[in-house]
Symmetry: C2
Subunit: 441 residues, 2 copies
């Protein structure tokens, strides 16, 4: 059912009186958690915890239209991953390998190291950095099974030095996605298990006879997966709470309007609730991009999704100058920010919050999705104010190191005892005082 009418794109003007109200309305987004989903997920988790593999097989057969009798049938061996890699077209394989190489190279620079320093009295303080032992990576099945997502979630864990990386992915009807398995082979996955939904998250969090319990679960998923991740948080670590994907393009009006229209579409084609916003000081340019969008839309296979996204949540905003654009961007704190302007370095000085900044006219956001190097898992819905891109640091953790010399303990024991008495904690005070020497044997 094709629809050839022109796109209705929301237009806002920074100078209009009710602009703030309109902007708030545009950005309003709350993930509503359905109590029924919460309750069903809680039950699934409980059953996986108590019944293990038996419940896992039952749920997998029911939800994924499978008929396995044993979880062993759900485990993909490493040689199968290699076979998948050999089976895909060589240009696909080469592209995946090139992307993986660039992603790995960028993430190597994120690796944190342990450090220590010694004080004059011989006391040593520091921070020990170690990798997580085991990580679970969720990869959605069906339409949203993206090999790029495998690379982006697995490679940072691999670079961090995680001992065991377990990937779970549902295979509805038993159908496996060879591109996803090939990406797993390239990126350093240790084991793939064909399970999905809340039952997969529960199995990773608590472990079953077949699925090893992990320390952290990352990766995108539907409502069931997201709800399950939030319910197991605390037992294990999880990555960010992802909302709909977003792009904000700031353009001075000098980039090809078709490039900008397609950049906005590339975000919109993800999802009807994805958000694409364009800000420019040139009304004429906004008109040109709108015209380009209408020319380009109908040749795209996902045009209906794009239309729903652009008309429902998109906007073209006219500002007086680029400083105003930067100020707006800081209020929005977008997941993806394109600075499609002549001097992006100058504009970057004004940018405080963004998941990733794509600078200049050549840095299409789509390049960042696949092979620029930085991660494509980014904070959404304004959370770039406090969240960071997924990175190696998400798979490392720190322990403080405190090694007092006798002299150091003598000095600091007095300070600690003083403060402990002030807080009414006498055992703390005595424990510290013993090291000062007064009560030592």
């Amino acid at each position: 059912m094709s629809n050839n009418r022109d796109l209705k794109i929301r237009r806002l003007n920074r100078s209009q009186a009710d602009f703030d109200h309109h902007l708030d309305h545009l950005l309003a987004w709350e993930s509503v958690s359905d109590p029924n989903v919460q309750a069903t997920v809680a039950e699934i988790i409980q059953r996986i915890r108590t019944e293990g593999d038996v419940a896992l097989v039952e749920y997998t057969n029911r939800f994924d239209r499978m008929s396995v009798s044993d979880t062993a049938e759900l485990v993909i061996r490493e040689d199968e991953l290699q076979q998948a890699l050999e089976s895909i077209p060589s240009d696909q394989k080469e592209a995946l390998e090139l992307a993986a190489k660039r992603i790995r190279r960028f993430h190597e620079r994120q690796k944190q190291s342990s450090w220590r320093f010694e004080e004059e009295d011989g006391t040593v303080l520091g921070q020990q950095v170690t990798a997580l032992d085991r990580v679970g990576v969720y990869v959605p099945g069906g339409l949203a099974a993206y090999p790029s997502s495998v690379l982006m979630n697995v490679i940072p864990a691999s670079v961090a030095g995680v001992e065991k990386i377990i990937m779970v992915t549902p295979t509805p009807g038993g159908e496996k996605n060879p591109l996803v398995l090939a990406a797993a082979a390239i990126s350093g996955v240790d084991q793939v298990i064909c399970i999905g939904g809340a039952q997969a998250v529960a199995a990773l969090a608590y472990g079953t006879e077949t699925v090893p319990a992990v320390d952290k679960i990352v990766g995108p998923g539907n409502t069931w997966v997201a709800t399950a991740k939030s319910q197991v948080f605390g037992k294990v670590g999880i990555d960010m709470i992802a909302g709909p994907s977003e792009i904000l393009v700031i353009c001075d009006g000098q980039t090809d309007p078709e490039w900008i229209a397609m950049d906005l579409f590339s975000q919109a084609e993800h999802d009807r609730i994805a958000q694409s916003i364009l800000i420019s000081p040139s009304v004429e340019f906004l008109d040109q991009v709108e015209a380009a969008a209408n020319r380009l839309l109908n040749e795209l296979p996902r045009s209906e999704i794009i239309r729903a996204s652009i008309e429902g949540r998109g906007a073209f905003i006219h500002v007086n100058n680029l400083e105003e654009a930067a100020e707006l961007s800081n209020r929005i704190a977008p997941e993806h920010l394109e600075l499609s302007v002549e001097d992006p370095e100058a504009l970057l000085q004004h940018i405080r919050h963004a998941g990733a900044v794509f600078m200049g006219r050549y840095s299409a956001e789509a390049l960042g999705d696949y092979c620029a190097g930085p991660n494509h898992v980014l904070p959404t819905s304004g959370t770039a104010r406090f969240f960071s891109p997924l990175g190696v640091y998400d798979f490392q953790k720190k322990s403080s190191i405190i090694y007092f010399s006798a002299e150091g303990a003598r000095e600091q024991g007095k300070v600690a005892a003083q403060l402990a008495y002030g807080e009414g904690l006498q055992a703390h005070a005595l424990s510290a005082s013993y090291r000062v020497g007064h009560n030592a044997k």
Copy 2:
């Protein structure tokens, strides 16, 4: 009601057949979230969001036995903080200032910097590190109002360069704690507001006429506060989910038994559900520590809390050697780990998970609570497997920088287009291809 009978301390032996079962039982801990608390907190948050200061005043008067008519009465001015600092005894003031200095010095080393690198074709990639704009620090009122907690939560935010640090603390009956206010003055708080409970968390997350909306909320609190923090997570960042405090001491049997007994007590005095565990290869030493504990217990003001904690959740574990002790420690992943042994560096090589490691006989855990320098906000309940101590990194966030040269976009555009077609995302492929030049105008 004093109780002079000997402590009943649980004894376990690593070599006994059912050891794993007993250990699991000992460590079992789940924070149960009460549905009534959840519902009440949700209502409080909703009212603060819609009614702002009006609801904030009403809740504060009701829950904190206050009778203010305006939130302005709840705001403590900066000169009042300075007055508090001048009002406390000079030795307390000096101890607080010494502790703050050491904490600041340690945390300065955690500061992360932005970085970039340029590829051969002129493409620039990097990571921009910036401080959060605004942070809220929750400080409990009443008995658990600890000035050390103010230092530990505020100083990392201050070192990170957070523009505005807002502290909230309830003042039941209007009573203010001068030590807490003095600690606020020393550590770099911009504003103190005398509010608490779920209403304070809601006000910080959503903002009211008086309370500025913040980007992240940190600091300890009771069930109401913890539940509110979990409910606003996603709208703002929060710190870890804290369980009961714990200490694990590994001792070779050569440290003064009274020192070790008091170290265990210093954790136990926090809370009836705090956990103190001692591991040693010497049964004789375990006996000596038990005897010392019985000698020392009754002179302590918090002896009843200590007794409940030690008898309810404590344990002395006999192992065959220190390697077994390290292996056990890795299973427990303790918040605080004391390596009270002759060669702590050798033992540290075997330690993978711990919030903070206190090395050697002089490094009492209590020193770390106040003035060693590293943070005392640490992961509990085994979450040291994936969480880190609170640090400057919790108040900084990262943005990826992607700046393609024309040549870089030409090369990588091909790779991205190849992968995008493989994922069925045509707009992504075209957006990347435009930069390759084939379709460019």
